[in-house]
């Protein structure tokens, strides 16, 4: 008699495969979660404050109250994700016990450990982790991440950092596929990641997990841009519920993510959306306040 196996690597890696071509939206309460589902979100990220507010208010940002997460889980039928602090494996265990679908070990929260990330192999639900370049993505995959996203600079409404990170990841992959065999070990050493994973990526021509874009997406055009640059889907943090008309902006970004190759549809969904969130110039942010620099 065949038995069923839960929580193995294949099952964890296949969850994000089903989210591809879709938009994962940050929500801070059940009402926003319902609006996100109505707008066509493929999943929601449950948190207490969107990154723009975390940035504005300062202080230590932690895992959300389980009560809030469960209320959001009750409100929608689509998958629910939540964030734990980098290295905070107890927060991660709590989130897993709540029965959410995926954990984001996120630099948007204040890191709990400056040296180590969570050992994600020990969990039966998948993790998504941020990365600024291929080496960082590979280290997270090595620790068991089932999904990678660009870090971008969350809460800024400025896409420039996410573009930099996506390009760094895809350039790194391209390099792995074209260098001669004898350079592979040195390249793995330079990337600070495993030789076997470098070989796997070289053979696949892509990461062995799904790659999403996060950090700074504020308009339908931003979403289409990152899809064109090779993202499999999009996280939108502050960009929806900090805009003038969240339902409309949410719908427009969902449509742009599906029809990212069709400028006529992009023009149509971009019309008359009202104010997007107010953006921040990255250079105006003091270096110690940059979220992307958290983690390694």
């Amino acid at each position: 008699m065949a038995e069923a196996q839960t929580g193995a690597l294949r099952v964890k890696r296949n969850f994000p495969e089903m989210l591809k071509g879709g938009v994962i939206m940050d929500v801070v309460n059940a009402e926003q979660a319902r609006i996100a589902e109505e707008a066509g979100a493929s999943a929601v990220m449950a948190l207490e404050r969107v990154p723009a507010d975390i940035r504005a208010q300062g202080g230590v940002a932690r895992m959300s109250d389980p009560e809030l997460i469960l209320a959001i889980k009750e409100a929608v039928t689509i998958p629910v994700m939540a964030k734990c602090r980098i290295g905070h494996f107890v927060e991660a265990e709590i989130l897993q016990s709540l029965g959410i679908d995926c954990i984001d070990e996120s630099e948007v929260l204040t890191p709990a450990d400056e040296a180590y990330h969570v050992n994600k192999h020990q969990f039966t639900i998948p993790f998504v982790c941020g990365a600024r370049d291929l080496g960082e993505a590979m280290r997270r995959i090595g620790e068991g991440a089932a999904m990678i996203r660009s870090k971008g600079e969350a809460g800024t409404g400025n896409i420039v950092e996410a573009v930099r990170h996506l390009r760094a990841i895809t350039d790194g992959i391209r390099k792995l596929t074209i260098i001669p065999e004898e350079e592979l070990m040195t390249e793995a050493k330079n990337l600070g990641a495993s030789y076997e994973l470098a070989r796997e990526i070289r053979e696949l021509g892509r990461l062995p997990v799904v790659l999403f874009c996060a950090g700074g997406v504020a308009t339908p055009a931003d979403a289409a841009l990152v899809m064109r640059l090779g993202a499999d889907g999009v996280f939108v943090g502050s960009g929806i519920f900090k805009s003038a008309d969240p339902l409309r902006m949410g719908k427009a970004i969902v449509r742009a993510t599906t029809h990212y190759q069709d400028p006529a549809i992009l023009a149509e969904v971009s019309r008359g959306l009202g104010e997007p969130m107010r953006g921040v110039e990255i250079k105006a942010i003091p270096e110690r306040e940059l979220m992307a620099a958290r983690g390694w």
Binding site: A2, Q5, T6, V11, M18, G21, G40, I125, R255, T257
Partner: protein, 208 residues
């Protein structure tokens, strides 16, 4: 050459396209009604059925799809695709637009959330003796089937059947329509894709 459309609104459509191409057929991404012309078959992939349903309506793809399926276009839905093909679903989906093509009742997320997602071996007699390794991701279950529907596979783990409240049907066929609660596109075993391609070739409708 046999041309298979894969609904590409959201989900793992690329995996289906890759599988179809590996079997020597042509795969085409379907996002707008114009993409339906000249297809020999259609696959509705895994993903979020609510998202696909909404985008289908928004870009007026729902009625042309219903018409094409009604006219005999062989169609296969995996997971979310199975939900969209079902005539009836559980309450969580009341009000959601469906293609309502197969005479089956489906319950969404029947096993729970991602924590309860699993892989298991299934006997699928239509594909031969060797069991099929299957992956269920927040998968649905078929609760009942009409008289014209053939059951292709049932769960054989008592624990899983108990989790669904006693239901066990996970693969069905009704004429040229196929539905699976699992994702053959994420494994290397392409027997289900071969099976569907054979149905599409035999039907030979070619939507014009």
């Amino acid at each position: 050459m046999t041309r298979i459309g894969v609904l590409a609104l959201q989900g793992d459509f690329r995996e289906h396209m890759r599988a179809v191409e590996r079997l020597g057929a042509e795969a085409r991404a379907v996002r707008l009604p114009k993409d339906l012309a000249g297809l020999d078959g259609l696959i509705i992939p895994g993903g979020e059925s609510t998202v696909m349903g909404k985008l289908m309506v928004e870009y007026q793809l729902d009625q042309p799809l219903r018409d094409a399926i009604h006219a005999g276009l062989p169609t296969w839905g995996t997971c979310a695709g199975l939900i969209l093909l079902a005539r009836e679903t559980d309450n969580a989906l009341l009000g959601q637009p469906l293609l309502a093509a197969m005479d089956i009742r489906v319950c969404r997320n029947a096993f729970g959330g991602q924590r309860e997602s699993f892989e298991t071996e299934l006997d699928v007699p239509a594909l031969g003796e060797e069991p099929l390794h299957t992956v269920f991701i927040r998968g649905p279950i078929v609760e009942s089937v009409g008289p014209g529907v053939e059951v292709l596979a049932r769960l054989n783990s008592p624990r899983l059947i108990a989790a669904t409240g006693g239901f066990d049907i996970v693969a069905v066929r009704q004429g040229t329509l196929l539905g699976t609660a699992f994702h053959p596109e994420v494994t290397d075993d392409l027997r289900f894709h071969e099976y569907f391609l054979a149905i599409a070739r035999e039907a030979g409708v070619g939507v014009s």
